[in-house]
């Protein structure tokens, strides 16, 4: 078991693993997206209150889950990188950061598009919206820091530290923001409480969440291959890449 994990630290092994995973992840992602989209757009009934407009939930909720999920996963990578100095972990961070920032942006955009017809405004300084916005800024800060540092080695190290500092700060931000808002203004626009979701809507939602997760894994596999080739271009295994499989 330990030996197997140890082998994952090698770029060549990771490259091969990613290459093998790609077709399977592609099939899974395509299947889930087709099934999820049909379920979301045709099979699930319109909401009794929000009508057809509620269907944006099938994009909004999965991206919101991934925006935070990717942050936790790169935090784990950062710990692995700092403690065991495994370079593949840093390559994973490098390819996953833009993806996490993108999902955060998608969450904000779909949320504000959803907010306009339902709440009557594109933006409101609600606790969850504000936390998500600050998360986007944190992603931006990490990417900016990694790009600005002179050598890849320092960039990797400082980036990993910053990810962990952000991880400690995120709950503090979340709680202070929700306290700030709940004291500042009561629910004027957020009056409706979402009913616990009906099974006919829940099922496509779960499928879409699965689709977004498998899409992320597919993207990370593809991007990781490129990143590893770029980083290890002078090594033996990359030079003999054609005889690898």
């Amino acid at each position: 078991m330990f030996n197997w994990i140890h082998r994952l630290g090698s770029a060549a092994v990771c490259y091969r693993l990613a290459s093998r995973l790609i077709p399977w992840m592609a099939i899974l992602t395509t299947g889930l997206i087709i099934y999820g989209v049909i379920g979301a757009l045709y099979l699930s009934p319109p909401d009794y209150q929000q009508g057809e407009g509620f269907r944006i939930i099938f994009v909004h909720v999965p991206s919101a889950m991934l925006s935070l999920g990717i942050y936790f996963y790169i935090s784990v990578c950062a710990i692995i990188f700092l403690v065991w100095k495994i370079k593949v972990a840093d390559a994973l961070i490098a390819v996953s950061l833009p993806l996490g920032a993108l999902f955060t942006l998608i969450t904000l955009v779909t949320g504000s598009l959803w907010g306009k017809p339902m709440w009557g405004t594109y933006w409101i300084w609600d606790a969850r919206l504000t936390s998500e916005l600050i998360l986007l800024f944190i992603y931006g800060g990490i990417i900016a820091l990694r790009n600005a540092l002179p050598t890849p080695k320092t960039a990797a190290k400082a980036g990993a530290f910053l990810i962990l500092i952000g991880l400690v700060d995120l709950p503090v931000i979340h709680y202070s923001v929700s306290w700030w808002n709940t004291l500042h203004q009561g629910s004027t626009l957020l009056k409706f409480s979402r009913p616990s979701i009906a099974p006919a809507m829940l099922q496509p939602l779960l499928v879409m969440i699965g689709a977004f997760f498998s899409y992320s894994m597919l993207y990370v596999c593809i991007a990781l291959r490129g990143e590893l080739l770029k980083r290890e271009k002078d090594t033996h295994w990359v030079q003999n890449i054609n005889s690898l499989d």
Binding site: G141, P150, V172
Partner: protein, 222 residues
């Protein structure tokens, strides 16, 4: 082991002799807060409502002007390398350096704050709470800022970078500080916010000097 007093004196003197380093951010604080009434409206009710927030944000921005040069001169002339290699714990001199900076900048800022508060028509309770919240909050801002200054110590000629990275991380302190002032001017209880600011400060004071020292070591020895 270098005695604390001598360490502090060194940092204090080198800072004092570079007057523009701390005087210009303070002047920036004064001038920039003065722009808000000009740009929005001179109505006392509006100014009172936003006064606490404006002063807090400007105090934060004044800090950001100093941060890029917190460790950089020492890094460039090799002092930092000597510190890292010396047997003195990095925690000790980081604390002394930050103490010197805080006394030189934050204390005058707190003297200026009541004057600015009067310009914004804040009530005397609100001004009192504002000063207390700055006393409790600015050291946390400094410590987190110094953490990021340590991370970016090898970056040259990109003074905006540190602001981009540090601002989102500092939002909780900013919100708690502003909230306490707002509640004080509305006549509500404000001790909870001040208590939380104190809690953040206690956490930052105990953990961050060690972490800053460690990060400087890692970044300098890279």
């Amino acid at each position: 082991m270098v005695p604390l007093a001598r360490l502090f004196k060194r940092e204090w003197l080198s800072l004092y002799r570079q007057r523009s380093e701390w005087l210009h951010p303070l002047l920036f604080f004064l001038i920039a807060t003065g722009l808000f009434p000009l740009a929005t409206s001179p109505k006392p009710a509006l100014l009172e409502q936003m006064g606490g927030g404006v002063i807090w944000v400007m105090a934060l921005l004044a800090l950001l002007l100093v941060l890029p040069r917190l460790f950089q001169p020492d890094y460039k002339d090799g002092t930092l390398q000597e510190w890292v290699l010396s047997p003195t714990s990095p925690r000790v001199w980081v604390s002394m350096k930050l103490l010197a900076y805080w006394l030189m900048m934050a204390v005058p800022l707190m003297v200026l704050t009541p004057i600015v508060g009067i310009l914004f028509h804040l009530s005397s309770t609100a001004i009192e709470v504002l000063v207390i919240s700055l006393v409790l909050g600015t050291p946390s801002l400094w410590l987190v800022g110094a953490l990021l200054a340590a991370l970016t110590v090898s970056v040259e000629g990109k003074p905006m970078l540190i602001s981009l990275v540090v601002l989102p991380l500092l939002t909780p302190v900013l919100m708690l500080g502003t909230l306490s002032v707002q509640k004080a001017s509305q006549g509500l209880g404000y001790r909870g916010e001040l208590g939380l600011l104190g809690a953040v400060l206690a956490l930052a004071l105990t953990l961050l000097p060690t972490l800053i020292g460690y990060l400087l070591r890692v970044m300098v020895l890279e």
